[in-house]
């Protein structure tokens, strides 16, 4: 059988969802942002909620997320996405509202907005990309940068005695009564990407039930910021990030 016979519409098993636009992503080669975008877009497509979804983009590498999601979106000030999402959800409670934020945005400058939106139990999905570094501004130390990890503002490695400890904000968030589903995933292997996809789907399904905030952390690589190839960065992530930020569900709905 020739290959040409396989490439037919009825044999299609995976293609870029129409909930993603055709724009070329501006992310560096191998960056987990693109995969995370696509998985969320996939889920929006699968649930058939493109017309009912409003997203909020952060400040950081994913500041231009609204170029790639083909849904109505608002661009928030740095760290304020959960407040913007609160404003949207309060006036349009029937819509699905998500924020997409990096670690600097969510766990440093936006800590108050994040914690209080979660504590109020806003019926929104927060997607949190944790790559342990400020990517867009050129690789500075983030609230999630590991002890000893080098960045342009911790060139000799993060010294926790003077620079403070990395913040495990997801564990903190899980303690809040307003959160309904809190999980930490990754997108660097097919298995992990599929788990993330399921987590995002669950989170949006829960939003329909008005159960509270759903929070999906995705531990991701930053090849440029970490100064590694994409493949090296994924290996480094497994060896260094995952021991500190273990993958898996942190809070699941009670049966």
């Amino acid at each position: 059988m020739s290959e040409n016979n396989i490439i037919t519409p009825e044999n299609l098993v995976y293609e870029k969802t129409k909930v993603m636009t055709d724009r070329v992503l501006h992310y560096c080669p191998g960056c987990g942002h693109g995969t995370a975008h696509r998985l969320l877009a996939d889920v929006i497509d699968e649930l058939g909620i493109q017309e009912d979804t409003i997203g909020v983009a952060p400040v950081g590498c994913s500041v231009l997320a609204y170029y790639y999601f083909d849904v109505d979106m608002q661009e928030a000030a740095h760290g304020r996405a959960p407040a913007v999402a609160t404003g949207i959800k309060r006036v349009l409670p029937e819509k699905y509202v998500f924020t997409y934020q990096g670690d600097g945005d969510l766990a440093a400058i936006g800590t108050a907005e994040t914690i209080h939106a979660c504590n109020r139990g806003e019926n929104i999905l927060i997607v949190f990309i944790n790559n342990g570094i400020y990517g867009m501004t050129g690789g500075q130390m983030a609230p999630t940068t590991l002890p000893g990890m080098k960045s342009s503002t911790s060139p000799r490695g993060r010294d926790v005695a003077t620079m403070g400890n990395p913040l495990k904000i997801t564990e903190l968030i899980a303690e809040l009564p307003g959160t309904y589903y809190v999980t930490r995933q990754s997108v660097h292997t097919p298995g992990n990407a599929r788990k993330t996809r399921r987590a995002l789907k669950k989170a949006l399904e829960y939003q329909k039930l008005n159960k509270g905030t759903c929070f999906v952390e995705i531990v991701a690589n930053c090849p440029s910021g970490w100064k590694m190839t994409p493949v090296q960065s994924n290996k480094w992530m497994e060896e260094h990030m995952f021991p500190f930020y273990p993958l898996g569900d942190i809070k699941v709905p009670e049966k």
Binding site: L64, D72, Q74, E75, A76, A77, L92, K95, H116
Partner: protein, 355 residues
């Protein structure tokens, strides 16, 4: 039907918000305006009109909630007082940049810093010259009475949506805290319109809506800035509001806004009793500023005194408007102190008539 009530300024403003068909209020307590959110929470307008009211974790969060709701095409508002407005300035700049309509109320107290909870007009510059970063303007309405506090809520929302621009009511602790007779307008319905610029969910056949103030290309950012400036020129042409008192035969002129204009009006009467021909201009819009009328008065006055509860802010705009045609001086009390009519009359005699 007219509904007359005796109401505190902050509470009347809150009632006006419900009646103006506001969709959402997001606030944070700060003296001297906490009665706004207290009244709304007590009144629970979600039962009356469906209006949402939320106490945010900070002024920063509150203004960004306004951004989110305004981006959905809704009538969203917040209120605060000076230190809280400073915190909101980031969000206001983003709202101006994203061209969203909203209403912001500043019941001004004295600064700098934590200052005092007593009334002041020391946020004039912050309100009319920008406050936040970037080239932008807010329409600034300055009520002198509780009645105007009420009327400007409705006017403010109308102007905000007409121009897709933030509007500020620049009040002060006197107007917020005092009780006056007020005529309330009838309940207006909340809008069901979905403006084409609003994120309400992507409809089939149209592009997704993006609410943003970001332009990475300088050429594009300049285009946005030019569009904003063109809008501001239209606002300056169409939306100037002011009142004049006894200006026809005047040789001297007071310029004062807000609560200070009421005290200055009394000073004007005292001056008239002493035989000085004095008039008063009261700007109701601080941006756009009534530049033209003040320029015209400048050409035939012997001198102009601005009276402000600050160290001299609006006086700069009056001088720009007068453009050297006559002397322009400032008299102010500040730090929460309120000028008396006698003080103002004395300042007129010392700085203008005898000056």
């Amino acid at each position: 039907m007219k509904e007359l009530r005796l109401m505190k300024g902050n509470e009347a403003l809150a009632e006006a918000a419900i009646r103006a068909g506001a969709d959402a209020y997001f606030g944070y307590p700060i003296t001297p305006q906490s009665e706004v959110i207290e009244y709304l929470m007590r009144e629970n307008p979600v039962d009356r009109t469906g209006m949402q009211v939320l106490q945010a974790e900070s002024e920063v969060a509150a203004i960004n909630m306004v951004y989110g709701a305004a981006g959905c095409g809704k009538r969203a508002m917040t209120s605060s007082s000076s230190p809280g407005i400073s915190l909101k300035m980031e969000g206001i700049s983003y709202i101006a940049g994203a061209e969203l309509p909203c209403l912001i109320v500043n019941v001004v107290r004295a600064g700098p810093g934590l200052g005092t909870i007593q009334p002041s007009q020391s946020d004039y510059f912050q309100a009319v010259k920008g406050g936040g970063h970037g080239d932008y303007k807010m329409i600034v309405l300055a009520p002198a009475t509780v009645q105007e506090s009420v009327d400007y809520v409705k006017l403010g929302f109308d102007l905000a949506f007409k121009y897709r621009n933030p509007v500020m009511i620049l009040s002060d602790g006197i107007i917020g805290q005092m009780m006056e007779k007020v005529e309330l307008f009838e309940q207006m319905p909340r809008t069901t319109e979905e403006p084409e610029w609003a994120t309400v969910g992507k409809k089939p056949g149209r592009d997704s809506v993006i609410v943003t103030s970001l332009q990475l290309q300088s050429e594009e950012q300049e285009k946005v800035n030019l569009r904003l400036q063109a809008k501001y020129r239209v606002i300056e042409k169409n939306e100037v509001r002011y009142e004049t008192y006894m200006c026809d035969d005047a040789e001297y002129l007071f310029v004062a806004f807000g609560s200070c204009a009421r005290i200055t009006r009394k000073a004007m009467e005292l001056a008239r009793e002493k035989g000085y021909k004095v008039g008063l201009v009261r700007p109701q819009t601080l941006y756009p500023f009534p530049e033209k009328v003040i320029n015209e008065f400048g050409s035939r006055m012997k001198g102009i005194l601005t009276v402000e509860m600050n160290a001299g802010q609006m006086v700069e705009d009056v001088r720009l408007a007068v453009n050297g045609q006559c002397p322009v001086k400032h008299f102010g009390r500040f730090g929460g102190m309120i000028p008396s009519p006698d003080e103002i009359l004395n300042a007129l005699e010392q700085k203008i008539i005898g000056g």
